[in-house]
């Protein structure tokens, strides 16, 4: 929609800017405004839908995208810093090694080291806690891929289960299917890679 509009605008504006022939019913220069002000005028006849929002251009879209990105990154902060702090605390006190040893037999089925149990657990708080945990714990590329794939299908279940329940779905069934999908993708990746 936007791309089409912009290209059509240029077709309208460019001849008027480069060589004013006089065929245009009302060019920008005649009413004494800047060429940029021409854009909404030239576009209005082609825009059939009644739209009260400001005209969408690539510049405005990328500004909005940048704002979204900045918001997302700021939102990450409150997950990332506590998660990194918790894992570093576990690591420095030596508790991480104990957890790793306890979870080693279970995690080895899907080709992950025992330490990854902490990552999968953190991922249940929020996806970005899990990501922070992955970056904090050193693993091989294959292990990271398996970990990410598992978390991708099965993450933030505390929060999501509440949403599922409130919307009217069955909480246990959705959680079960997502867990099975996560397990299956981890097994397949462990087998392929």
């Amino acid at each position: 929609m936007c791309m089409k509009d912009v290209s059509e605008c240029e077709q309208v504006i460019l001849p008027a800017d480069s060589e004013p022939t006089g065929n245009e019913p009302m060019s920008c220069e005649s009413i004494g405004c800047e060429p940029m002000g021409c854009e909404p005028m030239g576009c209005e006849p082609t825009d059939t839908t009644p739209n009260k929002e400001p005209k969408k251009t690539i510049g405005r879209s990328s500004l909005n995208g940048f704002k979204n990105g900045a918001n997302v990154i700021l939102g990450f902060l409150k997950y990332i810093i506590p998660s990194v702090a918790l894992i570093k605390l576990l690591e420095y006190t030596g508790a991480l090694l104990i957890i790793a040893k306890a979870c080693e037999p279970l995690m080895s089925y899907i080709g992950l080291p025992g330490k990854a149990a902490v990552v999968l657990f953190m991922g249940q708080l929020s996806l970005y806690s899990g990501i922070a945990a992955i970056s904090t714990i050193s693993m091989t590329a294959k292990q990271i891929t398996i970990c990410c794939s598992f978390l991708g299908s099965f993450h933030a279940m505390l929060l999501e289960s509440i949403v599922v329940k409130r919307t009217g779905g069955s909480m246990m069934l959705v959680a079960l299917f997502r867990f099975l999908a996560a397990l299956a993708s981890a097994l397949v990746l462990n087998w392929i890679l």
């Binding site: 929609m1 936007c2 791309m3 405005r60 879209s61 990328s62 909005n64 995208g65 940048f66 990105g69 997302v72 990154i73 939102g75 990450f76 902060l77 990332i80 810093i81 990194v84 570093k88 605390l89 420095y92 006190t93 030596g94 508790a95 104990i98 996806l127 970005y128 990501i131 922070a132 992955i134 904090t136 590329a141 294959k142 990271i144 891929t145 970990c147 794939s149 991708g152 299908s153 933030a156 929060l159 999501e160 949403v163 599922v164 919307t167 009217g168 779905g169 069955s170 069934l173 959705v174 299917f177 997502r178 999908a181 996560a182 299956a184 993708s185 397949v188 990746l189 392929i192 890679l193």
Partner: protein
């Protein structure tokens, strides 16, 4: 176990690692979201949703679910289930339709953003993308297939 660890060294480590993680993510997420926003304003969602309608009919979902699936699978921002919660306010769906949607969008949502964030941590991009999409569709069909084995529950819903 040694409890007399260097607290200051740990704080420094925490700060540096956090900054590193955030910077890596910002480098990936911000350009990607700009691209997504441009594509969204170009009306690409509507075009894809039209194509997805055949798929939703196939899954016995209402036609309006197509846009929910496309938005959820494409750019679901915070969490995938939120998109369906919003959709339920507009179109009332029964429990089976909701569960189908939750399984599909729950397993593979926000595939552009989340895959990019995962790839930033050093994971295999195609491995993650393909397994999520594949298993999302596979388990949705598994759920529908299981329901066909139990016709009684379909009537009750």
């Amino acid at each position: 176990m040694n409890f007399h660890f260097d607290f200051l060294l740990m704080l420094k480590d925490i700060a540096l690692t956090s900054l590193d993680v955030i910077w890596t993510m910002a480098c990936i997420v911000v350009p990607l979201l700009i691209l997504v926003e441009i594509l969204k304003d170009c009306g690409i969602m509507g075009i894809v949703a039209k194509k997805a309608k055949g798929f939703t009919n196939h899954l016995n979902l209402p036609g309006e679910a197509a846009i929910g699936i496309v938005v959820g699978v494409g750019v679901g921002l915070v969490f995938g289930s939120g998109v369906i919660y919003n959709l339920q306010q507009d179109v009332k769906m029964n429990k089976i339709q909701l569960n189908t949607l939750f399984i599909l969008v729950g397993i593979c949502h926000a595939i552009f953003e989340e895959t990019a964030v995962y790839a930033a941590t050093g994971a295999n991009l195609w491995g993650i993308l393909l397994t999520r999409v594949l298993f999302g569709i596979l388990f949705t069909y598994l759920y529908i297939g299981l329901l066909k084995l139990m016709p009684r529950r379909v009537k009750n819903a």
